[in-house]
């Protein structure tokens, strides 16, 4: 049986892991390679890096970080942030990523999803969608949450799948960094419109939240940052809570 995945997410800026609340107020959380190694040892099923600097200098640093991680961590690595072209995706894959997340560029140029899927297979194309509620609707935001696209998130998710996305990374901006739990209604709504795997993101504060995202939100994987970086809860605690709810997980040896 396929196990549900627990994925620590590392927001990386200029070679350091940072974390904000609702996408602002960044604090330093450590070295990305060291943190990735620690999480792999502690039973992470994948690691996710999001390059939130995405400047040209930061870009080169990020490729070095990916390479150093791929050389030391033998679990899968998903990388996102600042990927604007097939060539960008190729560079990130060649540096050692297994999957690549596209966000803003895909919204502005949807055929990027199609081109990347054709070149590398849809299994490695993750479409990352940052979502904020407006008057009862879920709206897609881009550029690290700064730009309101007025695009309906459910419509965009379904279109991304048709274009060749292999997975969706759904982040609730309203919940991000709040530790109040995932937006379960958003996850269910996306599930009902799509058939590709969904990674839930934004709002994890305790193990029960990650379990709820899978059991009630019907997500295939759960992503969390601060609860792991700040050692509020371990990956083992999360997996044990999932297992006690009857969810199949990869036990840590």
């Amino acid at each position: 049986m396929l196990r549900k995945r627990v994925i620590p997410c590392l927001d990386v800026k200029d070679g350091r892991v940072v974390k904000g609340t609702k996408f602002v107020d960044l604090t330093d959380e450590g070295d990305p390679v060291e943190l990735a190694e620690r999480y792999a040892r502690e039973g992470a099923d994948e690691i996710c890096f999001l390059d939130i600097g995405a400047t040209p200098e930061g870009r080169a640093t990020m490729l070095d970080t990916i390479r150093a991680t791929a050389e030391n961590v033998f679990i899968p690595l998903t990388v996102g942030g600042g990927v604007r072209s097939v060539q960008d995706m190729r560079s990130v894959l060649r540096a050692g990523a297994d999957k690549v997340a596209v966000n803003s560029a895909a919204v502005h140029q949807p055929r990027l999803i199609q081109e990347c899927a054709r070149a590398f297979g849809n299994q490695c194309v993750v479409v990352s969608i940052d979502v904020k509620r407006h008057n009862g609707a879920w709206i897609v935001h881009t550029h690290g949450g700064r730009v309101d696209t007025q695009l309906d998130a459910l419509t965009w998710a379904a279109r991304a799948e048709r274009l060749g996305a292999g997975e969706l990374l759904i982040t609730s901006m309203d919940r991000d960094g709040t530790n109040d739990g995932y937006d379960l209604a958003l996850l269910r709504a996306i599930r009902n419109r799509t058939t590709i795997p969904i990674i839930a993101s934004g709002g994890a504060g305790k193990p029960e939240h990650l379990t709820a995202a899978i059991v009630e939100g019907r997500a295939d994987a759960v992503l969390a940052a601060s609860i792991f970086h700040r050692s509020l809860h371990s990956i083992a605690e999360v997996k044990s809570d999932l297992a006690s709810a009857g969810v199949a997980v990869r036990e840590i040896a």
């Binding site: 049986m1 396929l2 099923d45 791929a70 899968p76 894959l93 297994d98 058939t195 990869r250």
Partner: protein
């Protein structure tokens, strides 16, 4: 042990090279022949079938792979390329093992994550549990013409499919051993140390 890691243009080779080094091999990334300089060949697996076969055909590696007599390991798409034909991009493949590659039917697809491979813990799986977990990332799977070549099987929803094969010098795994922690490294060590070419006795 000199191991050629075939570069077919698309994927992450860093992890495979590093994983092979970790188990004591000397890997080299290879974009053209001859392959007879090497003791073993790994055909890794990130990318789509159509572009990967086009790259192999242009570089002359298609003939080199068909002629290679030593132990060969295909990984993920690399395993699928060992078969006759893939319905991904309707592509004619290497034809080293008889059979085709078909899309899975369970939802959601792709099949992403850690799943069990049931094996008899021999060959590539020496030293591992009979239902060891490995990391998968794919939507297509092989259908060997002769089930005797199957040495590992995985269940996902209603799909039950072959996820490891061995025939003569040719082996393949659908999962990513270079991304499956210590269990994956054990599979690569078995391949490098020669256990991989041991054919299962039915």
């Amino acid at each position: 042990m000199k191991v050629a890691v075939i570069d077919h243009g698309a994927g992450n080779l860093v992890s495979m090279v590093r994983a092979l080094e970790t188990v004591g091999a000397e890997p080299s990334i290879v974009t053209s022949g001859p392959l007879d300089r090497f003791d073993r060949v790994v055909l890794p697996g990130v990318g789509a079938t159509g572009p990967a076969m086009r790259t192999l055909n242009h570089s002359g590696l298609t003939g080199e792979l068909r002629g290679f007599g030593g132990p060969l390991l295909g990984v993920c798409v690399g395993m699928q390329l060992l078969f006759d034909f893939s319905t991904e991009d309707d592509t004619e493949c290497l034809g080293l093992i008889a059979g085709t590659v078909q899309r899975l039917t369970t939802s959601p697809l792709p099949h992403i994550g850690w799943n069990a491979v049931s094996s008899d813990a021999s060959g590539l799986f020496v030293g591992l549990a009979r239902d060891e977990l490995f990391y998968f990332l794919h939507s297509f799977a092989v259908r060997p013409s002769d089930q005797q070549v199957s040495i590992g099987e995985t269940t996902y929803g209603t799909d039950v499919f072959t996820t490891a094969v061995a025939e003569r010098n040719v082996t393949g795994v659908q999962f990513h051993p270079e991304r499956s922690g210590s269990a994956g490294l054990a599979v690569l060590a078995n391949f490098v140390n020669g256990a991989g070419q041991v054919r299962r006795v039915a």
